[in-house]
């Protein structure tokens, strides 16, 4: 795969494993990865009735901070994301676009009452970043549970899949990606 990817850490989110995340995403996608800081007005995305942040609005904010139109960007946030029809989302992307967003909020084992596990969190975040980048490359969800494009509705689904695209998805990546579609999760 060719191209460059910015990992944009939202509003001072600076986990100590940020460097490992960049290196492992770079390895999984074979893309040059550059970490940047993103300063977003996230209060504007907060829905007090749900106690969560509107993912679609935050994704639009991420897109506005794209440093170079020839690259892609994935925002990394630690807040809980939602879209109006669903209780939560792990992330969101423009299908065939350039921007995506991933939340680590529900990827942390602490959220489920379990002890923290940093390697596990990094692994889950790498998979979600690769998954969302896959959507920006035009891929939709894959029925192969081990493919990184498999839809994860539980965090266990994320653990189960690999960081790799299956052969079929890999084949689709070699075709021209559709452009200008909307925002998958």
């Amino acid at each position: 795969m060719t191209g460059a990817l910015h990992l944009g850490f939202v509003n001072g989110y600076s986990p100590r494993w940020a460097g490992r995340l960049g290196a492992e995403v770079e390895s999984a996608l074979s893309m040059r990865v550059t970490p940047i800081e993103l300063d977003l007005d996230i209060d504007a995305y907060y829905a007090s009735d749900r106690g969560q942040f509107n993912s679609t609005m935050m994704l639009a904010g991420v897109l506005r901070r794209l440093p170079d139109p020839a690259t892609r960007i994935v925002g990394i946030t630690h807040v809980d994301l939602f879209i109006p029809v669903l209780t939560f989302v792990f992330g969101q992307a423009q299908l065939g676009g350039v921007a995506a967003l991933v939340s680590t909020y529900r990827l942390r084992r602490e959220f489920y009452g379990l002890p923290a596990d940093e390697p596990n969190l990094v692994d889950r975040t790498v998979k979600e970043v690769v998954h969302e980048v896959g959507h920006t490359l035009g891929l939709v969800h894959c029925p192969d549970y081990s493919c990184v494009m498999h839809a994860a509705t539980y965090v266990e689904d994320v653990d189960l899949k690999s960081r790799r695209f299956c052969r079929e998805c890999q084949g689709l990546l070699s075709e021209p990606a559709p452009v200008g579609r909307a925002n998958p999760y």
Binding site: T56, I83, P84, V85, V89, V140, C142, P143, A151, N183
Partner: protein, 448 residues
């Protein structure tokens, strides 16, 4: 991935509508959205949806009313009701109307995925059920092809040869020779045998209805089109389309049919959605297609498209060696159906059926035996039991052409049946469309 599956989302809130659209796009669906019931019903004209997600509370037409309207247009769509206000009463009402399920906003991603997956699974099972039922009914109906003489053996060899290919076939032969049986034999020996064979008699359907019969129509495409209806071409997907009396197809329809044969794509009447159907074409005719081309009533390009492989089914008079076996088969068939003992043919009756020219071919023989089984009383079938009057069998002379004999025979039966077309066709052992053609060809006037 849900390649090709279509989903319609109807919700007045743009944020809900758009987020659901994006969710389903990521799952590989083809998605359309509508902000109210009226827009949703317009979208239904673009083609069938596998799933329709309907918000319960909307201004104007509410979700329950829309559900009823969607059901009228497409009874097969899986409807999922979406609401912010969980109410047992409305849920029960929606489900009673046939909604597949009911989910409350915001919904857990896993619950939504499961609901959609189950809806698709149920829809696929329903479609498979219909396909299998059709298949079973077809397995019960076909009659065997009787005939061990050299001419029928040759026909059966050709059937076997062509069945393994996907080539278009034209079956030619007089009325009543069993062209449809040959078509079904080709289908049942082909790779497509697990899919339906769909038959259309182009000669017996008025031109105004034939187009809708073949291509289907959307609701409201014309006066009386109250429901969406799939056409025979669409129903034949995967299987065989059998067009009987292809020579009678009107000129405009010939152009439309030619286009479908070239692309295997078409639109329903009043519809915008392009539909693809993968079918093998088998046609039959008792008309001289080359003559029709010369007259300018049949398109030459269509002729070359359909005329890849030709099977000529011989008239019964040219395969008299098969008449005893056919007679035996029909006697046993009607004896079983009527609960009567099997009867034998008397020597005189056998001589009669072997000398008679059978202008209505096997169908006329079948009708003659049925009538003999109904009216006959003795151990043997006698000449008087057969509807072949003495004057009729003696009417022909060696100098008369076959056409003259056929014309005279039709005139006589028509007169005996007081000009009643249905009864005359039944006695002659031909269908009404064929009888009309013959009346036109021989310029026979019906007496009032």
């Amino acid at each position: 991935m849900k390649d090709g599956k279509r989903i319609l989302i109807v919700d007045d809130e743009p944020s809900v509508r758009n987020s659901l659209r994006d969710w389903f796009l990521a799952d590989g669906f083809t998605v359309e959205t509508a902000e109210d019931g009226h827009e949703a019903l317009k979208s239904m004209n673009s083609g069938p949806f596998d799933i329709v997600v309907v918000d319960l509370k909307m201004p104007g037409m509410d979700g329950i009313t829309l559900e009823k309207r969607v059901r009228e247009i497409d009874p097969n769509a899986a409807i999922i009701i979406l609401t912010a206000f969980a109410s047992v009463e409305t849920a029960v009402e929606a489900l009673k109307l046939g909604a597949f399920d009911y989910v409350t906003k915001p919904v857990d991603p896993d619950e939504l995925s499961n609901t959609i997956r189950n809806a698709l699974r149920q829809k696929e099972l329903q479609e498979e059920n219909i396909r299998l039922k059709t298949k079973v009914s077809e397995m019960v109906l076909p009659s065997p092809i009787i005939g061990d003489g050299p001419r029928m053996r040759h026909v059966l060899e050709m059937v076997e040869t062509v069945a393994g290919t996907d080539a278009s076939v034209v079956i030619r032969g007089e009325s009543g020779t069993g062209k449809e049986l040959i078509a079904r034999a080709i289908h049942s020996q082909s790779e497509r045998r697990f899919f339906p064979i769909v038959a259309v008699n182009c000669g017996s359907i008025p031109e105004t209805l034939l187009e809708s019969e073949l291509f289907g129509h959307e609701k409201g495409a014309f006066t009386g089109a109250q429901y969406r209806r799939k056409g025979k071409i669409e129903l034949a997907h995967g299987g065989t389309l059998f067009l009987d009396e292809i020579g009678d197809i009107p000129p405009k329809m010939q152009i439309d049919l030619l286009r479908v044969l070239e692309t295997h794509r078409f639109h329903r009447l009043g519809g915008n959605q392009e539909i693809t159907s993968d079918f093998r074409l088998v046609c039959a005719t008792n008309r001289d297609l080359e003559e029709l081309i010369a007259e300018g009533t049949f398109r030459e390009d269509l002729y070359y498209r359909i005329n890849v492989f030709v099977i000529e089914v011989p008239p019964l008079r040219s395969r008299k060696e098969d008449i005893p076996a056919l007679t035996r088969y029909f006697i046993e068939k009607f004896a079983r159906a009527m609960g009567k003992p099997v009867r034998e043919m008397s020597a005189e009756a056998e001589e009669l059926i072997l000398s008679y020219p059978w202008p209505g071919n096997v169908r006329e023989l079948e009708n003659a035996i049925e009538r003999a089984m109904v009216i006959g009383r003795g151990e043997f079938i006698e000449p008087t039991d057969l509807p072949l009057g003495v004057e009729r069998r003696n009417a022909a002379t060696a100098e008369q052409s076959l056409e003259t004999i056929e014309r005279d025979h039709i005139v006589r039966v028509l007169r005996e049946e007081d000009g009643n077309i249905t009864r005359t066709a039944r006695v002659l052992g031909i269908d009404r469309g064929t009888l009309y053609n013959k009346l036109r060809r021989y310029e026979i006037e019906r007496e009032p």
